[in-house]
């Protein structure tokens, strides 16, 4: 660092005091022969020795190389690793389309209630009425929130929700006797959409966006034909824009007996304002780990609950929870069902956090969440637009997409800006997506951020913009304050060392 004066207070100086730089240690590095954490109970029963219970041919000859460490070493190792993570409880995480909002602490307590978190899925139905009620009630309320008729809580993530959606499309068309193969997808869509379509045996067909990033209705109408099985739409789109023409689009699709799937990744922008059902959507998935605050866990587990119009209800996966009088029952006798998607009933542990959130907010709370998310996004967009121009500087919904194209003139790419933001203590926004915006930089602040945080973020961007003009090398060589510097991804992909190996001297 050369000039202290130019360095923001929360920059390198502070963070480098937090921890020096170094190589990241692995638990295997801590292993000492004979060290052990857990002690296993000695079962006091008469039983033949193990050698008589397992056929010799099936026995393991060599023990696996697992670490040998004491409990204090285990705890220290993982605590130290944890300190190398950015996380929502630390600061802003403005990843567009990922909706990284605060995860209420009470949810963790509720999920750990023994009678909810510790129960076996094969216990008799009469022993699990409470959890069946919870799942049933949440399904009912989620259907109401979405303006649709029935819900499956089985998908484990958004992508699995999409898989289910496409399976439902297939089942519907088979039932109708339709030989349809094509699913239309806007070019702004997330990559999961075409991947899900392809793996369910449909053909994805890309449709172009208009200049403003919305679906081009005229272009769409030209390609809709008898082979159109349906459309997958993200609303609001990945540009944070509301698809104004979705009603007309749905009408056109329905006219050829096609179906409309809505990717509900961005539901945080819609609660209390409109519902997928109001837009004639037939199937929608909701990422409960986004809008409904279930923690993301560093990459899951999530839940991609799916809601459908009544014409698709017969095809939902089994088992479905039904209420008979005051009792809840798991119903598997559904002849038109697409079958089983989850080995049990979905990611109940994720779902119950989402339900706790829905209950704690109520109707007015959820509407207020959406309202605040939209206000925050528009406020931040207003601040960021002069620094990094926004592709569509009209009002946005819950997120917006800047283009960092101008920084290329200074030899700086969007990924460099993302890395430099890490030095300012923020996580970077989503970069290089959506594909239709050059050098995209996609920002979603969510409702849980204060104005002060948004101002701080905009100020950091402004400082980085100055650095790009005055000292671009400072940006292209970022991050400077993290435990490791920028990692060589190309070399990593060429070498592909994807596991720890026993060091040579340990063989001796």
């Amino acid at each position: 660092m050369t000039s202290q004066g130019e360095t923001p207070q929360w920059d390198e100086t502070r963070r480098s005091a937090d921890h020096a730089r170094g190589s990241v240690a692995l638990i295997f590095d801590k292993s000492v022969p004979g060290h052990r954490g857990a002690r296993v109970p000695k079962l006091d029963v008469e039983s033949p020795p193990l050698a008589e219970l397992v056929p010799e041919a099936l026995c393991r000859q060599e023990p696996p190389h697992l670490p040998e460490v004491t409990e204090p070493e285990v705890v220290r190792h993982y605590i130290r690793l944890s300190l190398l993570n950015h996380h929502v409880d630390r600061d802003l995480y403005p990843l567009g389309s990922c909706t990284m909002k605060y995860n209420p602490k009470i949810h963790e307590d509720l999920a750990r209630l023994p009678g909810l978190g510790g129960i076996h899925p094969d216990a008799p139905e009469e022993s699990v009425q409470g959890i069946l009620e919870l799942l049933w009630c949440f399904s009912r309320d989620l259907a109401a929130l979405l303006g649709l008729d029935a819900v499956s809580l089985h998908p484990s993530a958004g992508a699995q929700g999409e898989t289910l959606g496409m399976k439902l499309f297939r089942a519907y068309h088979d039932r109708q006797g339709n030989q349809k193969q094509t699913i239309l997808i806007p070019d702004s869509a997330h990559g999961t959409n075409p991947a899900s379509v392809a793996r369910c045996g449909f053909r994805p067909r890309q449709i172009p966006s208009q200049r403003d990033g919305r679906i081009d209705l005229a272009a769409l109408c030209e390609v809709v034909d008898a082979d159109t099985a349906g459309i997958m739409v993200t609303n609001p789109s990945t540009l944070g824009l509301f698809e104004k023409d979705l009603g007309a689009i749905a009408e056109r699709i329905h006219a050829v007996d096609g179906l409309v799937y809505m990717d509900g990744a961005n539901l945080n922008a819609l609660m209390g304002i409109t519902r997928p059902g109001d837009m004639a959507v037939d199937v929608v998935h909701v990422n409960l780990h986004k809008t409904f605050t279930s923690p993301h866990g560093g990459g899951g587990p999530g839940s991609g609950a799916v809601a459908v119009d009544k014409k698709l209800e017969p095809f939902l996966p089994v088992p479905l929870i039904v209420k008979e009088g005051e009792r809840f029952r798991l119903a598997s006798d559904r002849p038109l069902s697409v079958g089983r998607l989850h080995p049990y009933y979905g990611n109940t542990g994720v779902i119950l956090r989402a339900y706790a959130y829905m209950l704690s907010q109520g109707a007015e709370g959820l509407a207020a969440v959406t309202r605040a998310a939209i206000v925050n996004a528009n406020y931040l967009m207003k601040k960021v637009h002069p620094i990094f121009p926004v592709a569509n500087p009209e009002t946005c919904m819950h997120e917006f997409v800047s283009s960092l194209a101008w920084t290329r003139n200074h030899g700086v790419k969007n990924i460099d800006v993302a890395k430099r933001l890490l030095d300012y203590g923020f996580h970077a926004p989503t970069v290089s997506f959506p594909l239709i915006v050059p050098d995209a930089f996609m920002v979603e602040p969510t409702e849980t951020e204060t104005r002060a945080t948004l101002d701080r973020f905009a100020e950091a961007l402004s400082k980085i913009a100055s650095e790009i003009r005055e000292d671009p090398e400072r940006v292209t060589s970022a991050p400077h304050s993290t435990y490791v510097g920028r990692l060589g991804e190309a070399e990593a992909a060429r070498t592909l060392k994807v596991r720890w190996t026993v060091p040579e001297q340990r063989h001796a």
């Binding site: 079962l43 029963v45 690793l81 209630l113 076996h120 009425q129 990422n287 079958g339 119950l352 206000v375």
Partner: protein, 453 residues
Amino acid sequence: MSYIGHTREEEARMLGEIGARSFEDLLEQVPAAQRMTAPLDLGPPLTETELRRYFASLAARTYDPNAVVSFLGAGIYDHAIPACVDHLALRSEFYTAYTPYQAEVSQGTLAVSFEFQTMICELTGLEVANASMYDGASAAAEALLLARGATRASKVLLAPGVSPRTRAVITTHLSGQMEIAQVPEIEGRVDVAALRAALCGDEDIAAVLVQQPNFYGLLEPMDAIGAAVSAMGEKPPHLVVSADPVSLGVLAPPAQWGAQTVVGDVQPLGTPAQFGGPTAGYFATRRTHIRRLPGRLVAEAYDAAGRRGFTLTLQTREQHIRREKATSNICTNSALIALRATVYLAMHGAEGLRQVAAACMRGSHYALSRLERIAGVERIYPGAFFREFAVRLPIDAEQLVGRVRDVAGILAGVPLSRFDPTRPRDLLVAVTETRSRTEIDALVEAVRRSISA
């Protein structure tokens, strides 16, 4: 509770700076026809106290797992969970982080994934493992799709002992893409001679899926199965093994039998039952298939100064780049559950895992030997088993489970009639290392009384 970052007064000032007169101005994009006219039909907001009360009332209408002794298994197992597993999983740094897209501020998550990948490789004997899948069943479906891509064949054979749930999930995922056939059964296991015959008669078989230990807890003759599959010429079908990770503490790694892909569910390694989810699947395969691997993969990487770190790699396989050509559509997986499994394995080491597996075997063999002494209770399948076994009762199994619960507060097992209505008197009983001799004896006594009641 509200988790919103500003008050209405602050909002008014922010709207002013945006240049909007009111919030409604920001909604100009939303057509009036699609606006909601009535408020959402949900209840009033609850306080924390009210939430706690309501959830406690729901929990009170399920059984209390701390008070009820469980012999339930069939895919979800009640193993001891070291306290530090939950304490570490509750670190905000882990559970409130997103997918590690920015490697330099995600080294915690990435290093744990790298450790997890290594541990899975060690347990399975394979060269490459990913950072996790949703669950063991969907991992099995993905393994079969990998085999299809690698062999260009279109049929799969499922061993008779593959869990009916896994089978159902596979059927859903593969419908319209692969043809599924069944390997004939002999005494609850794979009929190896019949398997050989099935393989010889058909060149369009992409994979054979075997679950070890199988759904009935039985140990499959993996040596003979492996030999039968690998005898199929230069490019044999993939042997795919769905292996319980605890059993791998004592059983040979499936790679030894020529398995191309090994999958399974890590719930037994430190994750509570949670009514069946979330769990995490694991997925390990040969190095030659690395570019067909679904899901996220972490690799070692170095910075300019030579410091070691970790990063997501081979993202070109994934949907956000390959789109419709991606190996799979999975993105969010089950990282936090994989972390639990990693901590669990670190806490146990190879010897601890072996002891857990051995205790399960001892306990389950003891339980079976005592249950067999009850008149009318008989073991269904002969031969070696792990942690779980099936018995035939003189009375209806659901009825017995209800009685045992009522008289002794014990969940005796999973009636197989839930999966096959032609088996009304068959019960699947699981015994983990957490069950004491006293508890097993109590189960036996309660079964005896319930049968004669």
